[in-house]
Subunit: 263 residues, 2 copies
DNA sequence: ACCTGAACACCGTTCAAGT
DNA sequence: ACCTGAACACCGTTCAAGT
């Protein structure tokens, strides 16, 4: 609204449109009216241009949506995390859930791909780091990361669906309501729990996350890769094979069987 | 295509349209061309009618989509399940994952609500039953059900996204690819694992499910609600209160406090 | 290089009529 | 009760021009 000053144009080039304004406008529209309110035509009108002009800056609508993601997490303060790796794992996961819960539109866009915002990657890094500090192998840590992320994502989707349904005037006959006495024989638990379903359903995400984490960590030294419990050596140190990747092996497998970046 | 015979019309009423054909047509279109191919206009054309005629049978497009769900699971054979409750819990969850993985369109529609197909409820029932047989309280069992479902859902969404991305001609710069050497200091694990990310990412769902289940079950007699450890009474056998639900108590713990309006 | 206008092939849904 | 037609207010994207 009250911006007034337009971006300084570098001397003689009067480029009337620029990618930043386009993306910023799209983000504003999304935040104000939801993802579905975004259309090429709408954004074009909003920036005082024509739909086709946008196609000089983005390949298609999906790309525009993906671009709105970049930078959103920069605004979010990075929380203090516990040092204990298990607690840290849970805390980061809960943080991820909390942040996304407050910006539900991000979910819809994320389904188009995966993490696309560099500013958000510290969460994945932190999860990998604490998982490995708890004794998981790199592969197990990646799996743990995905399992946690999938749960968080699924939880948020259905949380949103539930909220939507709550404010729907005439509720459709969804799950618990569709059960009748006749179903008691086939579905005894469901029928019995149906009246209290909505309230029973509510849980504390952190509790569930902590259960999931426990399950994932229980695989630590088990089965395949025992990799000596160096868990607690959690020293940072960005050294990682020294220089600019001169070591042919990309330092990669250094990660696989010895995340040993000591200080 | 080659159907020829139209549904028998009950004598004199020449209702040209009926809900069953509408829904069946929608389902066919979805299966052949995906959810996005469904439009009121398209379905109308397909059944030889006009868009507005459909509105006499469904409230709106969402309702039509939801209706296509009903009955899909009837076609899927119910698998044999292990008797051991923990194994059963995992098996049902994996079955759910497998079935939905083969009908990805169902996912999109499910996000509109929750389970809507009565024929699919046996899975929820089975999860509740085995969770409680493992010692979880009814509330914990419901939470376990949701946690599992959220994970399964999230996993499938990103599995689909990955598949889509794989067959995209020019891959966009998604997560692992966007990392450079400069990020190594901030994101050491991620940078190190990036080259192998796609392969590391792949996991066996059943393994992850089994870890999750372990975590959830570890809460059995723990912390807050000890509710007399009736856990191991898991009298398996499919008998479940014997006959047609005549025993008011529905077996179990009487499910909370016995909502027992018996037959 | 950057932008416009017209056009193509669509949408969901409302409203006023028809039988 | 069941169905139609026209209309409203939209879509994403292609194509051929303009400057």
């Amino acid at each position: 609204m009250a911006e007034g000053v337009k971006k300084k144009r570098s001397a003689g080039r009067p480029r009337r449109l620029d990618p930043e304004t386009i993306v910023a406008t799209a983000r504003r529209v999304i935040e104000e009216e939801g993802v579905d309110a975004v259309s090429m035509r709408r954004i074009a009108k909003e920036v005082g241009s024509t739909p086709m002009a946008l196609y000089h800056y983005v390949r298609d609508k999906d790309e525009l949506l993906l671009l709105t993601l970049a930078g959103v997490s920069a605004a979010i303060p990075r929380p203090e995390l516990p040092v204990d790796p298990r607690a840290r794992l849970i805390a980061v996961s809960a943080h991820m859930h909390g942040v996304l819960g407050r910006m539900p539109w991000v979910l819809k866009v994320l389904a188009l791909g995966d993490l696309t915002d560099k500013q958000a990657l510290w969460m994945a890094e932190e999860i990998l780091d604490s998982a490995m500090a708890c004794g998981l192998s790199p592969a197990q840590a990646v799996h743990a990361y995905r399992t946690i992320w999938h749960f968080v994502y699924g939880d948020l989707v259905f949380r949103a669906a539930m909220a939507r349904r709550r404010e729907e005037p005439e509720r459709r006959r969804y799950f618990p309501a569709m059960l009748t006495e006749d179903d008691r024989a086939e579905l005894p638990h469901l029928t019995a729990l149906a009246p209290r379903w909505d309230e029973l359903q509510e849980y504390d995400v952190t509790e569930q996350l902590s259960a999931i984490v426990d399950g994932l960590l229980s695989r630590a030294h088990g089965a395949a890769a025992p990799d000596r419990a160096e868990g607690t050596d959690g020293a940072e140190g960005p050294d990682r094979t020294g220089g600019t990747g001169g070591t042919g092996g990309t330092g990669g497998t250094g990660e696989i069987d010895a995340p040993d970046r000591r200080a």
